[in-house]
């Protein structure tokens, strides 16, 4: 066994990748599973299922509801998190070995998308989750997305044509520069012109199209100067050729087009298009429900669209409620964390209202539907989010902005010099103006800005930040306020015991363990975890009732553990109805949070927005040193949105369905790990690692912002000095042809080096 040999403990046992301090033995779940499969003779069996599915994806197996997800060839595309190395690829592509219901699975590591063919897609998702990769099924692309993919491919063809023509032109021009004369010179010149035609008419079409679009929308665009440079350069060069001068710039022109196309192609590939709108759309509309059929008196699965108001539906433990409704069961317990941000489970009794999106904690519940799909509270919020996201316009980037200003300056300077020189010598006027435009064209700017963007997106992705569009990253620099959601963002989703009113005896610990282990309530789980495994003792008359805690008898003494009403955070231990001690519970802060917030506190205003009760939020803010004036509690999603709108230059960090509106309205939005799909969709940045490393994100954006400024300065110096030389008539086309690629290479090298340095420093 080659790679299974145990090496140093600092490397992954399977793939030998260096481990971070938090990881133990393995770098990822794939490695762990592969290691287990290779070393134990168990044939593709899961030894330790890592996690359960967070949402109910059963509808994917129902041919009536899965149309939006399964494409014509019967494939489902799933976005997975946590892909690290070859082991992940192996284990995911071996899914058919685990279950006969899966026919094939193929992983695209560049986008983290698995394409699955299966009899049961639900099973495939379950397996992926069990392997440790949180799966999110993607909708099939709509028309617009298909067009986008097509245009990306077309861009490749255009690059190929530009490379071919540009290469030939360069060969021809170099012989011109080296002194070809006579007929051959004319032939070469005409050939250059012929090769330049496809570059101008075919390869450059994306620029014309973008320019036209920005004209229609009356918005300034970086493509305007490029279009001017290409068309002017081509026409004036051709004119010069007709006049018989050797001053033409077909070679620089085609090199420019080629470089710009390549940098744009790279950028479009690095942006995390998967997380964009519509692909991750909330599937509440596609959900299947168990409906009560009065004729057969049985629960049957039906698609959501066949449910109407007044129908009875059945929901089981750990499932999310699929519709708003009234509780029909006696009493149920739900976890509203994702919908409202409340950390504590809620008890609902008969005829209480319950809302789609809350998770059921009780074994089962019967609900009378009052509204479904987009009419539910959750659905309405999501509709509003979608509207807001559609209306958000893409702000133009700062580099683009500077490039434009600069170009208009150059163009007017060119026009002036043309007018001025044309009084002296029209031929010279054309030559010098042409040299100025070609040399000083903001090609470095236009080329550098997508380059820096794609490098920074890649850098961020490596550190665990998936960035949807480059503009979000640039906007980070101006952020003044950072707003956090509480539940799930600052705290872990589950509770922890914080303190007890006195030391517990061994017997008491045993009793707590034996009573609470029989309950599935989150509080019970926290208590069991707190006391740790204990000896089994005989409890008789065990009873669990909602809102009343658990009770039982031991040695003829009646023991009861229940919530103390006035104090929602504590439970009391009663012996024969006398309070013995209390246990304080709370939601647990994420690891290392305090250290991480310390730096942010120095540079930004921090706020907390929560749907949770005031005193819970307050005590948490106190621990984190966030001033009381920046705490907002008891908020509905709409109120969160209002707070966000009242703040200037704000970044929202959240995870739940109740945060989506606020996320959609903030300047930069960040969804944290394990956020619900709709929150991810509403966000610009998604942190796919467990810790909230915002400090790193902000430092990275500042570093990149500084780098952009340096680049602006460099190109300013370059353009001004060479532009003035061109105006004075010192720049021959030969020099232009030499300087441009050298300059491009230098700038490229400089930026790659700076990113390398940044990665080391941060």
């Amino acid at each position: 066994m080659l790679n299974a040999q145990a090496l140093e403990s600092t490397n992954c046992k399977q793939c030998n990748e260096p481990l971070s301090s938090k990881q133990k033995d393995f770098c990822c779940w794939g490695c762990k599973t592969v290691y287990q499969i290779l070393n134990q003779d168990s044939d593709f069996e899961l030894i330790n299922p890592s996690q359960k599915l967070k949402e109910n994806y059963q509808f994917l197996d129902d041919p009536h509801s899965n149309k939006n997800y399964i494409n014509d060839s019967g494939e489902l595309r799933v976005y997975v998190e946590g892909i690290q190395c070859t082991s992940c690829l192996w284990i995911i592509e071996s899914l058919p070995e685990f279950s006969k219901d899966i026919y094939s699975s193929e992983l695209d590591m560049s986008q983290n998308i698995v394409t699955v063919k299966a009899k049961s897609f639900y099973k495939a998702l379950q397996l992926l989750a069990a392997l440790g990769y949180s799966p999110r099924p993607l909708k099939i692309e709509d028309q617009a997305e298909k067009l986008l993919l097509k245009s990306q491919k077309k861009l490749l063809y255009k690059i190929a044509v530009a490379a071919f023509c540009g290469g030939n032109i360069m060969l021809l021009s170099s012989s011109i520069y080296f002194g070809v004369e006579g007929t051959l010179l004319r032939v070469f010149e005409v050939l250059s012109l012929i090769f330049a035609i496809p570059v101008v008419t075919y390869s450059s079409t994306p620029f014309y199209l973008n320019f036209y679009r920005s004209l229609v929308l009356k918005r300034a665009s970086i493509d305007a100067p490029i279009v001017v440079a290409i068309l002017f350069g081509f026409l004036l060069s051709s004119w010069n050729l007709v006049l018989g001068s050797t001053h033409h710039y077909f070679d620089s022109l085609s090199a420019l087009v080629f470089l710009l196309l390549v940098s744009r192609y790279i950028l479009s590939r690095t942006q995390q298009g998967v997380l964009k709108l519509n692909l991750l759309e909330n599937f509440i509309k596609d959900q299947r429900l168990r409906k009560y059929d009065p004729e057969t008196k049985k629960w049957t699965w039906v698609p959501n669209k066949l449910i109407s108001k007044g129908d009875f539906i059945l929901v089981l433990a750990d499932e999310k409620l699929p519709a708003d409704g009234q509780v029909v069961s006696q009493a149920i317990s739900v976890n509203p964390a994702l919908l409202t941000g409340e950390s504590l489970p809620k008890t609902l009794v008969k005829s209480d209202l319950c809302f789609a999106g809350t998770t059921l904690l009780s074994d089962k519940a019967v609900i009378k539907v009052t509204s479904k799909g987009s009419e539910t509270r959750l659905g309405r919020t999501l509709n509003q989010v979608e509207k807001q996201l559609h209306s958000k316009t893409n702000l133009s980037l700062k580099t683009d902005h500077w490039a434009q200003k600069f170009t208009y300056f150059i163009l007017s300077l060119g026009a002036l010099s043309f007018l001025g020189f044309s009084f002296i010598n029209p031929q010279m006027a054309i030559e010098r103006t042409l040299a100025l435009i070609i040399i000083a064209c903001p090609c470095t700017l236009a080329f550098i800005s997508p380059l820096i963007q794609s490098l920074s997106i890649k850098w961020a992705a490596r550190s665990g930040f998936l960035i949807k569009s480059a503009s979000a990253f640039e906007k980070l620099e101006n952020i003044k306020n950072i707003v956090f959601d509480k539940t799930g963002t600052l705290t872990k989703a589950n509770f922890k015991v914080i303190s007890t009113s006195r030391e517990l005896t061994v017997l008491e610990k045993q009793l707590i363990f034996n009573l609470e282990r029989q309950s599935d309530h989150p509080v019970a789980r926290a208590l069991v975890q707190f006391v740790g495994p204990q000896n089994i003792t005989q409890i008789i008359d065990f009873k669990e009732s909602l809102g009343e805690g658990v009770s039982g008898s031991y040695n003829s003494e009646h023991i009861k553990i229940k919530k103390i009403m006035s104090h929602t955070h504590s439970v009391g231990f009663f012996k024969n109805d006398i309070l013995e001690f209390t246990i304080e519970l709370g939601d647990e802060l994420k690891d290392n949070l305090k250290n991480q917030l310390q730096w942010l506190q120095k540079h930004y205003n921090l706020h907390i927005l929560s749907g949770d009760r005031h005193h819970i939020v307050e005590s948490l803010a106190d621990q984190l040193n966030i001033p009381a004036s920046n705490i907002h509690s008891n908020l509905l999603p709409e109120q969160k949105q209002k707070v966000i709108q009242s703040l200037d230059k704000v970044m929202m960090v959240g995870d739940g369905a109740n945060d989506t509106l606020a996320l959609a309205y903030s300047d930069v939005s960040v969804a944290v790990n394990a956020a619900v799909d709709s929150a991810v969709q509403a966000s610009d940045i998604y942190i796919n690692k467990d810790n909230l490393q915002l400090e790193k994100l902000m430092k990275m954006s500042n570093y990149v912002a500084k780098l952009i400024k340096t680049n602006l300065l460099i190109s300013l110096v370059y353009n001004v000095s060479l532009g003035s030389l061109a105006l004075m008539g010192f720049i021959h086309p030969l020099w232009a042809a030499i300087i441009m690629p050298i300059n491009t290479l230098l700038v490229l090298g400089f930026n790659v080096f700076m990113f390398y340095r940044g990665r080391k420093a941060l």
Binding site: N3, T86, S110, F164
Partner: protein, 59 residues
């Protein structure tokens, strides 16, 4: 220098052949995923490591 009459068109034709090849590859999806194939080539090693490696894996 008359040789150029043949050589230049020839060079152009060869170049065009390469462009055509590139377009064909792009159409086939050769450039869709540039990461996984590099890893996939290592998979056989992993499979051989498994003592009772299963035969006939479709991949």
């Amino acid at each position: 220098m008359n040789i150029l009459v043949i050589v230049i068109p020839l060079a152009v034709i060869i170049g065009l052949l390469f462009v055509a090849g590139f377009v064909w590859a792009a159409k086939k999806g050769q450039f869709d995923d540039l990461v996984s194939p590099a890893h996939r080539i290592l998979l056989d090693d992993l499979k051989e490591n498994k003592k009772e490696s299963k035969k006939g894996n479709k991949k």
